[in-house]
Subunit: 350 residues, 2 copies
Amino acid sequence: MEGIEKVESKECYMAGYARDGLPSSDHLKIRTVTLSLDLDSIPDDHVAIQSLWISVDPYLRSRMTGIAEDGLNVSQFPINQAIGSYGAGKIIRSKSEKYKEGDIVICPEMPIAEYSIVPTKAVAIKVDPAFGVDPVDYLSVLGVPGFAAWIGIEVIGKAKEGENVFISAAAGGVGMVAGQLAKLKGCYVVGSCGSDDKVKLLKEEFGYDEVINYKKEPDLDAALTKYFPNGIDIYFENVGGKTLEAVLNHVNGFARIPLCGMISQYNKVWTEREGVRNLLNMVGKEVHMQGFMLRSYMNRFVDFITEMGGYLKDKKITSKLKINKGIESFPESLASLFTSSNIGKVVIEV
Amino acid sequence: MEGIEKVESKECYMAGYARDGLPSSDHLKIRTVTLSLDLDSIPDDHVAIQSLWISVDPYLRSRMTGIAEDGLNVSQFPINQAIGSYGAGKIIRSKSEKYKEGDIVICPEMPIAEYSIVPTKAVAIKVDPAFGVDPVDYLSVLGVPGFAAWIGIEVIGKAKEGENVFISAAAGGVGMVAGQLAKLKGCYVVGSCGSDDKVKLLKEEFGYDEVINYKKEPDLDAALTKYFPNGIDIYFENVGGKTLEAVLNHVNGFARIPLCGMISQYNKVWTEREGVRNLLNMVGKEVHMQGFMLRSYMNRFVDFITEMGGYLKDKKITSKLKINKGIESFPESLASLFTSSNIGKVVIEV
């Protein structure tokens, strides 16, 4: 990129909020802007980044409703600005002493754009090639979904050998790592997902003991009776609503329910969400249910990277990526998370 | 009672289970039985007890449904036997070396009867008159409701100075102690209850900062907006359903919700219970919700008695009793818990 003073950059921006349902082309639009790469035009303590990989995660939906303080309690993307997501990119201009051209970096909120200029503090990690991990793994096993899986299974779930673990949305970016982690801890692990291809993947590649295809076994209560004759000790919650309700009829005493997300509920305003009627079971079974956001566990990030990086290098944990190409694939990539049409962690290769 | 060989004993027994609604005279019946007090007829390691005080608590309702493994997960009272509750009584015959005639004792499950013969292991505490606490206080501040309040506010709630605490069923046996404890910890405390008399009691005798009469302020969401401009840090849950749902729209980050009980839901089978639609808020606000049963905290009972006994003797905590007389008052006493017609801890003076 040396010597180039201007680039055309495709970006995805928030044209209008989608209160419910899936965001459409009315809400998420693509445009091309011109970016000056002239060093003089880049502010101090800023870097210009060429995007390489962009993470597509369900929580992004909650930043597009225009409803403040709802559900995930995440800030709304400003109208008419490029939206952001966790991403990996290459520094192409630097007005910072910390980074130089050519560095590969991870940004928790990188603009969903081909190129961007961001403050240095928006960069979280510089990828060390000597660590031997592919940059795209920082969006998966070593990124948002891997960290979420680790917090849920280890920190909140406190998984112990011989415990029975149920994971919903098991073939998603978080679920596939959560299941492998629980297996590494010596647990019996059952997942749920929405296709036979996913069932196969979860059993054959990720070592799940049993997998429920909820489209083929719509009576989840009966399925849980079948697969958990000894009850559930940990439920890793990714789905919410009726799934959570079914689980609460099968929990053991002192069960833990880390609440990572509730993807079945994101496209509805709260009064339309599915009510859970059997929370009383939490009293008798002394269940511990806990919501979590990664931002509150950053003091554990090094522990996470150390443990998970080790598993990754030892090939004890693998991942499956669904790679879509180009910024313009973002709206469809996001929608695919809600229609169960993706397998594995969805990323965009820019 | 010396020299008397037989007594007539009135008792309340389970004639049939009440799946939903309030138990009626079809379910709870009174009868008089004859009990032999002849020492030869009392088994070894048993004592004969004359009941003095019987505790009437909401959880008893859950032992009368005939539905195993539901909600509170408590065992069902056997049909045709006297039901049991936490009580204080006087030993009138002893075939145990641990107790002698005249001892005042506390039994976690004393038959709801004028007289009974129970195994020694059914006796939990011998009341030491030198401790200076009235035996009936062992059914209130130092009993089931006081212990539940202490676990919820201190152990699970971890109440800290300056935090905002909401307590439902605040004028009940548990609520009145929970509120006073939270005040002692330096919290801002708001309660909800169902009559102006209770509002007055909570404010004037128990030091609540504000009290919501839910019959006069049926829009709980608006009331919480008014009384919690800075949100809720701890919600002591006694009610469930719509109350919990309203609270979840007002929780602060890292709020704690100890689940002591859900009295609004006990008289319904689970599929008829009120669904809570906004559990997703627990993710964004990282809420910690935890059910608890006292039996799991018995290792903390001495800590509780020490702290709470101190408050009681220093008159830092008081209690209000609703005293009903005679075994035959039990069915009505139980019903009064669900119609909000009682103030304070309901006990029966036998």
